[in-house]
């Protein structure tokens, strides 16, 4: 049997980057507990459109936890009350009947609000463009036994590569720091032979871009690691520090 709940939403509305924002309150009835959080937002938007009001703008794309587009700070936590999921993977069964749900955009000086719940996360793209890649085309897939890679390194590289660039780490951080994101990007390349070659240059370029864009200084509070939907480990930050400091020492 399907369960439904009635909820109240407190949603951040802001017409544009320069406009003053405010919270608006909406009531939504008969939300299936099997629906996803974004489906619930689709319902509220349908309701708003039917009332001839402007729908709530929010980011989303894949709706299966792989693209990193969805964001939303829900009831005090990035990606909401569930652990290790993105907002699009969040189920309405995590909420109670009659509950008020507060929805805010990511808050960080480097992620300004574009409209309502959508923030400008191009700062992350700029950091990637500064060095988060391997600069030469390395051709076809070589034999798996051509270059031996320790299993631990391969596993850690895969784990760091699972960062989807959602920005929850920045949203959760009291310092507005992007170190978890940058360290994941530096790590997954630094741990494998092809990426290793440009390791020093990459660490310097990406950190310089991160600083230039106004992200904060990491003090290792670890809120990022808790809220990261992909469980990116804080130990990546130690690796980034290591990469960056040894690169600087060589100059």
């Amino acid at each position: 049997m399907e369960n439904t709940i009635n909820i109240t939403l407190k949603v951040w509305r802001q017409n544009g980057p320069k406009e003053k924002g405010r919270f608006e309150t909406y009531k939504l009835a008969n939300v299936s507990t099997d629906s996803s959080f974004l489906e619930m937002l689709d319902m509220i938007n349908e309701q708003l459109v039917n009332e001839n009001k402007e729908p709530v703008a929010f980011d989303h794309d894949c709706r299966e936890g792989i693209c990193g587009m969805c964001s939303l700070y829900i009831n005090g936590r990035p990606h909401g009350p569930d652990d290790d999921v993105t907002t699009c993977q969040l189920h309405m069964r995590k909420f109670k009947d009659g509950q008020t749900i507060t929805i805010e955009p990511w808050r960080s000086a480097a992620f300004p609000v574009i409209k309502d719940l959508i923030v400008d996360r191009r700062a992350f793209d700029k950091i990637i463009a500064a060095g988060g890649y391997v600069s030469v085309n390395t051709g076809g897939v070589p034999d798996a036994n051509a270059i031996a890679i320790p299993k631990v390194d391969a596993d850690e590289a895969m784990d760091s590569a699972s960062c989807i660039g959602c920005g929850a780490c920045v949203a959760a951080c009291k310092n507005g720091s992007a170190m978890l994101f940058v360290s994941a990007k530096v790590s997954h390349l630094a741990l494998l032979p092809q990426g290793r070659v440009e390791g020093a240059r990459r660490a310097k370029a990406m950190v310089a871009k991160m600083d230039e864009l106004g992200f904060g200084n990491c003090t290792n509070t670890g809120a990022c690691e808790v809220e990261c939907p992909k469980n990116i480990s804080l130990s990546n930050i130690a690796r980034l520090n290591r990469e960056f400091l040894s690169a600087k020492l060589q100059d």
């Binding site: 936590r77 805010e104 000086a109 480097a110 992200f215 480990s233 130690a238 520090n241 290591r242 990469e243």
Partner: protein, 236 residues
């Protein structure tokens, strides 16, 4: 090496190195303070061990060199803590989350390093006026002259022990020392492992180890200073 200190990680490196250096100093300091309680254990007369220790510190040329380095360490650590915190507040932006912060499992200390640091700094100011300024002759005090065994002979020096003992008979000062020590313990419960993380000495294996050592360092240093002040008040 160029412009290392204009980078966020470079600024953090300064915080870390200065902080870890201060921890090293605190261990030496605590070792000396423990003499305040140990006369009875080693069969010395009241205050002899501590006075000998103070005499050693006051006459040793190495200490004369370390002293300005230590002052520099404090100044760097405090100045950079302010710069970093201001930059971080700016990076965070002015808008607070209306629904608060409900992220679980974040250390209290890690979120309040500046406040804890300010408590330590206030304590430090009182501490310097209480003892350092007097023992260094910036503030007049009844130094007295006592004899104590020193490197196999008997030596004469000022009676620092009585100054410390008299100071620790004043309840508000003892309370201040305990508060300062507790703030220090919290600061170090995060600061120690964070300092290693900052210089890059961490990975998934070392994380639990460093956090464990961090708590031990915090308890030994914070608890040590507090217990010595309390014991002086109660039993000496």
């Amino acid at each position: 090496m160029s412009n290392l200190l204009t980078a966020s990680i470079g600024r953090k490196l300064l915080m870390s190195v200065s902080g870890l250096f201060l921890i090293l100093f605190l261990f030496v300091h605590l070792f000396l303070n423990s003499f305040l309680l140990l006369d009875g254990v080693f069969g010395f007369e009241r205050g002899q061990m501590f006075n000998a220790g103070v005499h050693f510190m006051g006459t040793n040329p190495l200490i004369k060199i370390i002293e300005p380095v230590l002052a520099l360490g404090f100044i760097l650590h405090i100045v950079y803590s302010l710069i970093l915190t201001l930059q971080n507040m700016k990076a965070r932006g002015p808008q607070a989350y209306a629904s608060g912060k409900k992220t679980s499992g974040v250390e209290f200390a890690s979120q309040n390093m500046l406040v804890l640091g300010i408590v330590i700094a206030s304590f430090l100011a009182v501490h310097i006026i209480n003892f350092y300024m007097k023992m260094k002759g910036f503030i007049a005090w009844e130094a007295g002259e006592v004899e104590f065994p020193f490197l196999g002979n008997m030596a004469k020096g000022e009676d620092a022990y009585s100054l410390v003992n008299a100071t620790f008979k004043i309840l508000p000062i003892v309370i201040l020392y305990v508060v300062g020590s507790v703030a220090l313990a919290f600061h170090l419960s995060h600061g120690f492992w964070s300092g290693f993380q900052t210089i890059g000495w961490n990975n998934t294996k070392w994380m639990p180890r460093l956090k464990c050592i961090s708590n031990i360092v915090a308890i030994v240093l914070g608890g040590g200073f507090a217990v010595i002040a309390l014991a002086q008040y109660l039993f000496f």
